[in-house]
């Protein structure tokens, strides 16, 4: 049996810098781990001393891919801290924005980051000539997500109009209507995406773990992205303000960074966690797709995160159509977004494409930030990724070095990690 000595420096097609190291000796796994080699960025330090109206613009820069999610988690935290209740219109529009981001991010991940592995190429670029129709479709769907953001928040990367207690500019109803029409027109493309992914067989891996996501508050019927309590598949729920009891970011003596842990030794967040925890709340259209993709809740194969993203994309597309209908029927009204800054501490929890995201701030009575904390999905997933790798390697140890390396990279990519955004994940080395 060949022994493996794998070191993938800067895994590609993920956001940020991470390495994979795997070493076996006489068929025994010595090491199988994911190391983060990102440079620290100190966002929480940058927030201290800044005014309430500057915070969102600073923290969206944590991550370009889930900039809207960061903005929303941040606004929710600031609003909680200052006891601000945004209007229903604000909440609905924010949900549309978040859906836009989910569409853009899920299609970016499924097509551009994950699919090349299944099609045996290094990137989407060679597909531009070999599978032009697929690439054109992928670009079209991704663009739809982007255009949703552009219509409501100005641009997807570092959204503009999102503000505490409202919007700096409300979208033009006609533009919103046009977006809705495009979502409807995109349904066949989404269908084709489902068809494409239904032909793909994800690698085998079975490991039961804890799944954490938002869950419905008081019998809410909505598959939660923007609102809700924090729930664990092992049974327990928390208000967002108690997020620290969920992620328990602690300094593990063995490691050099803050890592998260709830009940089980590690937990997973993201599309599959949401799917497993909230399957019943999926729209029927999405449930049908799950069936077609052979995905049943709970599912314990992390490679299926990609499949869960496809299911979610369908859910979100249909939901968008309804949400836009709701907003347009009620009519978009100018609102008074003024608020008085005040002292307080608050947390916001939002489901961004890669999983649950927490922001929390403490403000003084002038609305100057005294303390900030951001816990990013990938930070929460790191332990789980490592546990998965440890479980995976013995099952594939007989394969060639290239195959093992690829399967490990695919596993990491399935989590769609956002490493540069993981504010607390610096130089994580599992020794």
């Amino acid at each position: 049996m060949p022994d493996h000595d794998i070191h993938v420096h800067y895994v590609t097609r993920v956001e940020g810098h991470g390495d994979i190291v795997c070493k076996t000796n006489n068929g025994v796994v010595e090491k199988a781990e994911f190391n983060v080699v990102e440079a620290p960025r100190f966002f929480e330090a940058a927030c201290v001393g800044r005014a309430h109206y500057e915070i969102k613009d600073i923290v969206t820069r944590i991550c370009g891919i889930c900039a809207c999610g960061h903005a929303l988690a941040s606004l929710r935290a600031s609003e909680a801290a200052m006891s601000i209740e945004p209007s229903e219109q604000t909440v609905d529009l924010r949900k549309i924005v978040l859906h836009g981001e989910t569409i853009q991010s899920h299609f970016l991940h499924t097509y551009f980051l994950a699919a090349p592995d299944f099609l045996g190429v290094g990137s989407v670029i060679p597909l531009a000539s070999s599978h032009k129709d697929v690439v054109v479709r992928a670009l079209k769907l991704k663009k739809l997500g982007n255009d949703i953001s552009e219509t409501i928040v100005g641009r997807h990367v570092h959204p503009i109009t999102l503000k505490i207690n409202g919007f700096s500019k409300l979208p033009d109803p006609a533009a919103l209507k046009a977006i809705q029409k495009r979502v409807i027109e995109a349904l066949p493309d989404i269908e084709a995406t489902v068809d494409l992914f239904s032909t793909i067989k994800v690698p085998e891996l079975y490991r039961e773990t804890e799944y954490i996501s938002l869950g419905p508050t008081n019998g809410d019927k909505e598959y939660p992205f923007y609102d809700g309590d924090i729930i664990s598949s092992l049974g327990q729920s928390y208000r967002p303000s108690n997020y620290q009891q969920v992620c328990n970011e602690e300094v593990d003596p063995k490691h050099t960074a803050k890592l998260c842990k709830h009940k089980a030794p590690s937990y997973q967040v993201g599309a599959l966690a949401r799917f497993n925890n909230n399957y019943n709340l999926l729209r029927p259209e999405a449930k049908k797709i799950a069936e077609k993709l052979n995905l049943k809740a709970p599912n314990h194969n992390p490679y299926n995160i990609t499949m869960a993203q496809v299911v979610e994309a369908v859910h979100v597309a249909y939901d968008l159509i309804d949400l836009i209908d709701k907003v347009l029927t009620k009519g978009i009204k100018e609102e008074n977004n003024k608020y008085q800054p005040k002292a307080g501490t608050g947390a916001g929890a939002v489901e961004v494409p890669r999983g649950i995201l927490f922001h929390s701030y403490k403000y003084d009575s002038n609305g100057i930030c005294q303390w900030a904390d951001c816990v990013i999905p990938t930070t929460q997933n790191v332990r789980n990724i490592n546990e998965d790798m440890k479980t995976l390697v013995p099952t594939i140890i007989g394969k060639s070095q290239e195959e093992v390396s690829l399967l490990l990279q695919m596993l990491l990519r399935a989590y769609d990690p956002c490493i540069s955004c993981s504010t607390h994940l610096i130089n994580v080395r599992f020794e």
Partner: protein, 248 residues
């Protein structure tokens, strides 16, 4: 003539600028007809060190970044800094205002010594840079214009005029006239005044114009009800890095 080969690299940043490149959905296929993208970690596994133009995103924050950046410089004919982080240290430089140790402590508590980090710096403190695409994030059109300019042999556009110019041409209602302080008058244009167009003040992500009248601008903002302290903070969301700063 063979197609120019371009590559993307990143240091400390949010990768939003590279994402902006991927967000050129309508143009991406045409772009691929003009250039070969040979390295782009965020989007591709293939990695070739034979390229003409390197687009570099992100700030330099660690000693270990320097040799990697120098290697890029050696390989490339042209190095273009993309984004505020790379061109002027941007948001990363906020923390330069406090001792690195303090920043580490705020975020990592007593584990602070486990991380290597120094000042956040723009890449031109380490290597020579041939052009800049400013912004946080970069503007997609600006990116495409820059690629075209380089292909026809021009310098990248420098947009050395204030954001107000484009804001006025778009016929936005000036935010100052409705009482919202805005950095537009001293901030470099080229973004089509996107923030004011969406009702939000310019926060200076493209850096200062070369002849920024900061004194007068401060007085003006004070008239709009900001304190000097507010103003200096406002002006440092992206513009903290001072060229004189030596790295620690």
């Amino acid at each position: 003539m063979s197609k120019p080969r371009i590559a993307f690299f990143d240091f400390s940043c949010c990768e939003g600028c590279q994402l902006q490149v991927l967000n050129c959905e309508d143009e991406l296929l045409d772009l691929l007809a003009l250039v070969d993208i040979v390295q782009f970690r965020e989007a591709m596994t293939e990695a070739d060190w034979n390229f003409d133009i390197a687009f570099v995103e992100g700030s330099i924050t660690r000693e270990q970044d320097e040799p990697r950046l120098k290697k890029i410089r050696e390989a490339a004919k042209l190095v273009i800094a993309i984004g505020a982080c790379s061109g002027m240290a941007g948001i990363n430089a906020i923390r330069n205002a406090m001792p690195v140790d303090k920043a580490k402590e705020i975020v990592y508590g007593n584990k602070k010594d486990a991380f290597e980090s120094t000042f956040a710096r723009p890449i031109d403190t380490v290597i020579k840079v041939d052009g800049y695409i400013p912004g946080c994030p970069i503007d997609r059109k600006d990116f495409l214009r820059t690629v075209q300019a380089l292909l026809v042999g021009k310098k990248p556009p420098d947009h050395d005029y204030p954001v107000c110019q484009e804001c006025r041409l778009r016929e936005n209602e000036c935010l100052l006239t409705v009482g919202i302080p805005c950095m537009g008058p001293i901030t470099r244009g080229g973004c089509d005044a996107i923030e004011p167009t969406f009702g939000s003040p310019c926060i200076g992500c493209r850096g200062l114009v070369s002849e920024a009248n900061i004194e007068s601008c401060k007085q003006m903002l004070e008239k709009h009800g900001l304190t000097i302290e507010d103003i200096s903070k406002y002006m440092t969301i992206f513009n903290s890095f001072q060229k004189e700063e030596k790295h620690a």
